[in-house]
Symmetry: C2
């Protein structure tokens, strides 16, 4: 690092802010990047640092329609000034949101229930699945992430410190790359075996819970029959099929609004979070009437903030922006362009061993001397790209997959900047 | 009911909206009141129905500083237009919020962690307590409510359908009324016995989890020694002491910002939710460094929406409004006035058998022919008061306690309207 680079990094590190944060929020909070990024503004696909630098956001799906989208901000401000209350009174926005949301989903998913986060959505989905199945055993993929609540973090082995409880089972993700895609071919069988083993050990199956992009596992889009086979195995075992669309939903994959549609299967429950309110806390659980009936017979459901009119107004604005601005088409088009550009980078840089992409969700797998070595390269790539003004992150059990998941208005020229920066970064790291 | 009353009720029932809601959100959602209330606007302590009627809000603590407080709305709108992101980057608002919040709490509580709801706060507090104690057994009160997640709903016997798992224990709340306050006198011993029994059955204690106003149990403010004795028993059993301030916090009790201060005990963990963002989804878990250390050693903590700058800006505005507008003083003053007025109503109406009140949190217990009969009277009172333009609700295992918990700017004259309406309602129901 040159002196000027070091000084630039240091000024952006805002040490006093980091220190204030560590004191007030404790050491449990981590930041991205070796030099944490202090952000002060966002607009569209751009984030601005306290140092005045502009960063291309190629990572955050939460500001799905772009940072500080005027339509979302206006809807939020107007509704916040009008009424903010809960679902024990009747209010229009949450009903309008439920109807609009259901309009984007297959007909068999008839009811939407509202939460404050993806974690709450998956947690509620588990409660519904347990009542519907009478079981409590869940099958997930080996490096899944499904939330931070007590019940969902146990199903998030991607998180440090998590031990999968004995009554759940984890199977290898449908890896389409390693061993020529052997993982994808055996996925359905693994799920069937996991449910059989669970039952043999005395736990009644409750659910198959899968992230439709296998995000934390490394981002995979296996052949349809792999996922459909797993779904069939779950149904045969009496388990409920939950599609976790917290990362893959809301048009991210370009070919459809929802990841499970890309895979072509029919979930009993769909869980939503992150992109739903463009950053404003809102999530949902969408269900079939049959699956939710046993839950409704036993329990009521109330979530103080879930379905409040202000969060609902933000979520309605997001759905409207996706539709009116053609963001699904853009995800397909800009995503396709990005894939071809990244494939070109891969041809020139042996560090890239595989690219997996749908719409604006892309995993770029890196290799080092051994596969594990890819993690060090990947970490250096992510940090160097940040230094060069492009934000991405990592995923996968070996932390060697670049995770590229930008806001949906990401353009062809944004994709070009991303690909050029990645190429330049890989070149610089060879020296 | 007279014909005109019936017609007025029907127009407010908005049957098409109810039907749309039932179709889109399913039958699991309940509404308050025999005739559900369709709300369209809020301002201060007032809510406006779709029928153009104005309702005095004497129930909602969530809009803590008043519905649609201009300062909260402005803060929210400004920050939403500037930046909304997560804690993996450095942003100022969440750090400022943590510091301000800690400034209102005792010095031993050093770190604030952020969530999206009271449920998430209690759920996270349980995870922290389990790591700190090495145990998993929790003692709660018999009719507690602590959240809707899988882990917290099990600790919410106030909810229909909930069965307390074998490894937890519930004790009678410190009832200061029934049997001349016998429950309050035996509370500490009950907690000690519950932990002893839990340990004897092979479960290591994790936490004592108490709502500082015993809200769902019926609202009790027992003598300090009752709660301190329970806290001492928990500590002796190796359990972590969690003060659930989701309902009692943020100045509600008038004498202090936090309910545990009113009781005079020293919690290891404090959980926050409902009033924190005046309706915008935000919650927090405040901890001592010692208690959170084992959690931090094992896990990281990240909550996508928890601590986002927009929710943080709303929460900062709430803390500022409480301080600058003297809302703690108002809670004490208007609450004291309300208590004396309600006591006068009680002298004239035998249906009221006990009033329990601190600041702007009041339980008015009603009796019928037998105690259980109070539920029917209470339900009629709540519905009739709504019809007369004042919103309250019910609590307690017998559903015979009027729950009065208005926004903090509730004035002396608002208290007069409430008391007059209650008196008129009780008179009308005698005929």
């Amino acid at each position: 690092m040159s002196k000027s680079e070091l000084s630039q990094s240091s000024s952006n590190a805002a040490p006093s802010l980091i220190e204030r944060r560590r004191r007030a929020m404790g050491p449990v909070y981590a930041t991205f990047y070796d030099v944490p990024l202090h952000l002060v503004r966002g607009k569209g696909v751009w984030l601005e640092g306290a140092d005045g630098r502009r960063y291309l956001d190629a990572y955050n799906n939460v500001p799905s329609v772009g940072h500080c989208h005027p339509r979302v901000v206006a809807a939020l401000a107007a509704q916040a000034g009008r009424l903010n209350t809960h679902t024990r009174y009747l209010t229009e926005p949450v009903i309008e949101l439920a109807e609009k949301l259901l309009g984007t989903l297959p007909d068999h998913l008839e009811h939407a229930m509202f939460t404050c986060s993806g974690s709450e959505s998956n947690d509620l989905a588990l409660r519904i699945a347990m009542e519907a199945s009478g079981g409590r055993g869940v099958v997930i993929t080996r490096f899944a992430y499904h939330g931070n609540s007590l019940a969902t973090v146990e199903l998030s082995p991607a998180e440090r410190g998590v031990r999968l409880p004995d009554h759940h089972r984890a199977v290898d993700a449908p890896d389409t790359f390693t061993n020529a895609g052997q993982g994808a071919r055996t996925f359905a069988r693994s799920v069937a075996e996991a449910f059989a083993d669970m039952a043999a050990q005395g736990t009644r199956p409750a659910a198959l819970l899968i992230d439709s992009a296998f995000s934390s596992d490394g981002i995979y889009f296996p052949p349809r029959e792999a996922v459909q086979g797993a779904v069939d195995a779950a149904r045969a075992a009496g388990a409920v099929v939950i599609a976790d669309e917290v990362q893959s939903g809301f048009g991210r994959l370009g070919d459809a609004m929802w990841g499970f549609e890309v895979h072509g299967f029919r979930p009993d429950i769909v869980t939503l979070g992150k992109p739903m309110g463009a950053g404003h806390p809102v999530g949902a659980v969408v269900v079939t009437p049959e699956i939710v009936a046993p839950f409704t017979a036993r329990f009521g459901y109330f979530n103080t903030f879930g379905g409040n009119p202000v969060s609902a107004a933000a979520a309605i604005a997001v759905l409207d922006a996706i539709a009116d601005e053609g963001l699904l088409d853009n995800a397909r088009d800009a995503g396709g362009h990005m894939l071809s550009l990244l494939s070109e980078v891969a041809r020139q840089h042996a560090a890239i061993v595989n690219i997996r992409s749908r719409g604006l969700y892309t995993g770029v797998e890196l290799a080092g001397d051994e596969r594990r070595g890819g993690a060090d390269v990947a970490r250096r790539v992510v940090n160097e790209m940040c230094r060069r003004g492009v934000l991405i992150s990592l995923c996968g059990p070996n932390a060697n997959v670049l995770k590229i998941r930008p806001p949906l208005p990401f353009s062809r020229s944004n994709a070009e900047q991303l690909a050029q920066t990645l190429a330049a970064t890989l070149s610089s790291l060879q020296h």
